[in-house]
Symmetry: C2
Subunit: 148 residues, 2 copies
DNA sequence: CAAATATATACCAAATTAGTATGATATGAA
DNA sequence: TTCATATCATACTAATTTGGTATATATTTG
């Protein structure tokens, strides 16, 4: 499971992606309202995303947040990792949050579970690493049209 | 991420699968030692697995645990769900632990993120639902031989 | 300067996770 | 029948994570 933090981070970034190209940045309060995210919590999430180089911010009146890269260059896998969540189902198959299983005595090379979980991670990352913010925005448009 | 509980449940069941066919059940203490799982914690995990019909137990001296079904009929997806863990990355795409996103106003049919996460869940379940305890045991044998 | 904004720091409550403790109960063997 | 070996039931708990909130400060624009 992703944490709410990760989910909120994704939704906030999708919001920023929709605003991409506009001159004026989006205010925290706007994003919070649009995406129904608690404002103060969103604030801390955005600070983290900024520290990780995904967004930039502008202080003062008429300030706010905007993407630091093209929406087509920000991928779900990245967002999830930066907002604190491992993607893998076990620490011993995580690329970015690796930890060995102390209880696995034969070593990971002999662990069948490790093996299967590696497969799962690969299948998951395959999808998440090819889906960008602009893909999500497009997809949303397409879904909206289908339902009209 | 799976909880340790889920990981321990899988490992314990693999242990029981290896013992399958023997007359004598495995004692909690044996499983705990073999798989390096804290004994009292394992005890509570096994009780839950029994309540969910995956294992049977026998009380008293020479008692212990054994599988309630063939190892080829117990799948990772089942174990993970019964030991408390959703497989999906978001509640709104979970089959067994579904919850709607209150903040998703257009409804899930219009949510692009929902759509992607559905894909991820399907890819994950595809692997976990076809991997049985006997597959894991076989796989372990194969890995051991490769490394000899 | 005043208003609108982000920033920094610190705190906090609830839920979840990962167990432990204690004693009762059932079984088999001596 | 008694004793050692098991599971079973119930309750408790410590640590961590999650999901926030509060307060005060710094910066920019008009």
């Amino acid at each position: 499971m992703l944490s709410k933090k990760s989910k909120y981070a994704i939704k906030a970034l999708v919001g920023l992606a929709k605003n991409h190209g506009n001159e004026v940045p989006l205010r925290i309060a706007q994003i919070a309202e649009q995406e129904h995210i608690p404002k103060k919590f969103l604030e801390s999430i955005l600070v983290e995303l900024r520290n990780n180089g995904l967004v930039h911010s502008k202080m003062g009146a008429a300030g706010g947040y905007y993407l630091a890269k093209e929406p087509s260059d920000i991928f779900l896998s990245q967002i999830i990792r930066l907002s604190g969540g491992p993607i893998a189902l076990l620490p011993c198959v995580s690329l970015n949050f690796y930890e060995s299983c102390e209880e696995c005595e034969g070593g990971e090379e002999q662990c069948a579970l490790h093996d299967v979980m590696l497969e799962v991670r690969e299948a998951t990352v395959e999808i998440l690493a090819k889906t960008s913010l602009s893909d999500l925005v497009e997809r949303e448009d397409r879904l909206a049209k289908l339902l009209k």
